[in-house]
């Protein structure tokens, strides 16, 4: 498998995610695939889908995570968070995370409203979205209690 150096910060992010065997994970803006590859090693027979709005970014992930993709652990989709929809019959995700994604970290609030709606629709009823800016992560409220 292609090795990408995982920074201490991203390693801490992966450590903080509530991963378990069989979990379904959605990463938003995950190019070049460093964190996704680390997640793929910790989820047993689970699955991680990485979405990215950049065609170049998607190509990077496909190249860097070719082995994980071939093993069925990881898949990649070229789509922005605010346009993301589950495919027909695609199971919902248990966890979503986004690290330094402008639509979710406060840089682009308007895009964030739509992105959070789309992510909420793709998560299980108890699913959670995590972003950076916490210690090291913070959970984003997606629905009313």
């Amino acid at each position: 498998m292609t090795e990408l150096r995982l920074s201490d910060r991203l390693a801490a992010v992966v450590d903080a995610l509530p991963l378990r065997p069989g979990v379904r994970v959605l990463e938003i803006g995950g190019a070049p695939g460093s964190a996704a590859k680390a997640v793929a090693r910790r989820m047993g027979d689970g699955h991680i889908l990485v979405i990215d709005r950049s065609a170049k970014g998607v190509a990077q992930i496909e190249r860097n995570a070719a082995a994980e993709i071939a093993a069925g652990l990881l898949s990649v989709r070229h789509v922005a968070a605010e346009d993301f929809e589950l495919l027909p019959g695609e199971p919902r995700f248990d966890i979503a995370f986004a690290i330094r994604v402008g639509a979710l970290d406060g840089r682009h609030p308007q895009a964030g409203v739509r992105a959070r709606q789309r992510i909420a629709a793709a998560l299980t009823p108890t699913g959670q979205l995590f972003i950076d800016g916490g210690d090291p992560l913070r959970s984003v409220k997606l629905r009313d209690a």
Binding site: D8, S54, A55, D105, G106, H108
Partner: protein, 42 residues
Amino acid sequence: MPTGRTAYGSYTLPSWVMTTRDLLRAGENVRFADGDARREQR
């Protein structure tokens, strides 16, 4: 305060978001989406 631009338009970096300069310094594989600025301007 750092400012930058992505395909969504220009932005001012919130205090809790690391600058690209800091990310690079931290050894991250920083990748910019098509059309994004390479650095926040200080």
